[in-house]
Symmetry: C2
Subunit: 349 residues, 2 copies
Amino acid sequence: MITTKGYAAKSTTSGLAPWEFERREPGPTDVLIKILYSGICHSDIHQVKSEWGPAIYPIVPGHEIIGRIEQVGSDVKKFKVGDLAGIGCMVRSCGECDYCKNGQEQFCQKGKTVWTYNSVDADGTTTYGGYSDKIVADEAFVLHVSEKLNISKAAPLLCAGITTYSPLNRWKVGKGHKLGVLGLGGLGHMAVKFGVSFGAEVTMISHSPSKEADAKKLGAHKFCNTKDPEQVKALAGYFDFIIDTVSAPHDYNIYFNMLKVNGVHICVGIPPVPMEFMGNSLMRGNRVLTASSIGGIPETQEMLDYCAEHNIHPEVEIVPIDYVNTAYERVLSSDIKYRFVIDMASLAN
Amino acid sequence: MITTKGYAAKSTTSGLAPWEFERREPGPTDVLIKILYSGICHSDIHQVKSEWGPAIYPIVPGHEIIGRIEQVGSDVKKFKVGDLAGIGCMVRSCGECDYCKNGQEQFCQKGKTVWTYNSVDADGTTTYGGYSDKIVADEAFVLHVSEKLNISKAAPLLCAGITTYSPLNRWKVGKGHKLGVLGLGGLGHMAVKFGVSFGAEVTMISHSPSKEADAKKLGAHKFCNTKDPEQVKALAGYFDFIIDTVSAPHDYNIYFNMLKVNGVHICVGIPPVPMEFMGNSLMRGNRVLTASSIGGIPETQEMLDYCAEHNIHPEVEIVPIDYVNTAYERVLSSDIKYRFVIDMASLAN
């Protein structure tokens, strides 16, 4: 077994603290990755606090992982020692169903998707995430990371990146389209970057006028302050697409009314309470509502390659691992532009 | 002016009774149609009772109209006297905005869509619908009706037909697709017919086992009794599309779970109260919810031609005009398979 250093929470209220645990020896199709950077995702906080169903404690979060291959199993084909590599939200699935074969492993028909942490692997062991110095995973779920990427900033691509890239890609958002982005956090700021890069006219929609300068710095072309009824009215029937990164309950009718005929509202954040709106605000204009969940492995690779090619990186604040509990507090109070990344070298200290 | 005989309601509670009124003389681009058949749509009942905003009394309902051209204005190009013709839900729009030019007149950007009845026309007069012996309308909103169609049955195509044809056509539902149909009324039975004709495998989804035989008679291939949890479970992730014709509040989560990844739930009926569901049941599978409102004039013509070519007709019960109040009661108690059509010759009696 491989002794691994990490940070874990032992209960809903313990916070995260150093913890040593064991990972399996790499099997024939496994790689061992030395973790260099690990992003902090809001969903880490939910899971650490058992807010998404009961957590398996101790829980080692982290599903935005960048590192270097340190060892490869005998049958590994995609990687060699020294390669940069990434791991996102998933580390296994059935591999046989239509969705797995079709690169939609997050929707495995057999329900055998194994999440990177807080999940039970095929061998019955618990998975532990990226807030640690090493990880072992089947190469099928490991991504190539280009040397062109700035790896200290790239980790959030593995979740925030693919979550926004996937629906914009699937709905073919691009040149000639007007895209609204709701919410300017980890997901929202990537949605702005991808929208701009794909050629769309991007409008940040926010109730905080203070976000205007930030959004424009990221490339947004326009800004709508939703606290000003005139600005809201001016956008009636305006957008081809809205990407909605807000997971707090909000009034969808307002945003549906900003869509053109056949316009599409894409939720990548959803509230923990029922979504509610008048059917009429969809029917007027044959409008479309959809939600989107991360992305499959081939599309995640495509996204990473696209970002390397187009020099797209998340905006991050790099912190040492012993800052993680403070970082969580700052995520909860939206005091971060836009994503924390843990420099895992700090684990050695 | 043209003296017209019809049936009108004078108040929310009056019911419908004979009423004589005047229509304008046909202008240069108008046609005068002698009405032969007029369908009864559930929305007639809502409007007669002022349930969709205040009605303009007296109200003459009817937006599923089939007749013959009796007179044409000097500039009319599409029609000659004696032609069969139809009128659906609209009789005018601005004609200049992107949506009007694009055959989506129901979504006129200037809000100048004039409905066939209970609406104010461009000249300030009230529009009166098809429960009458004649109608005058601009040829741009009049449809050609093929002599191949059985005109005693065709009237409901102008609303129930286009309402179901349009979204199935827009989403390219056809061969290789599994289509679920929710609700077996005026809309639902047309959705079954179109779905089968387009080559999809059609499943009627209903809580009334008694509907199975009816649905299969219409061409449905399968049936799901939603009162049987086993049958519901068996359809998890089954459909590419569901067309939902139910306007009573219902639990959308159940049906979203029946959709494949990227599956689409199309509402052509929407409840008068907020729609409500867990965002997760959309996000699991990147599912899509949309609603669809009738269809534009070019697509309505396409649908009528398709029905003529493929011998598709609504199932109707033909009644005289003095039966209309009883027919309304029977619609409200779902005691009709599947649409009433008024034989307007009965007005002469």
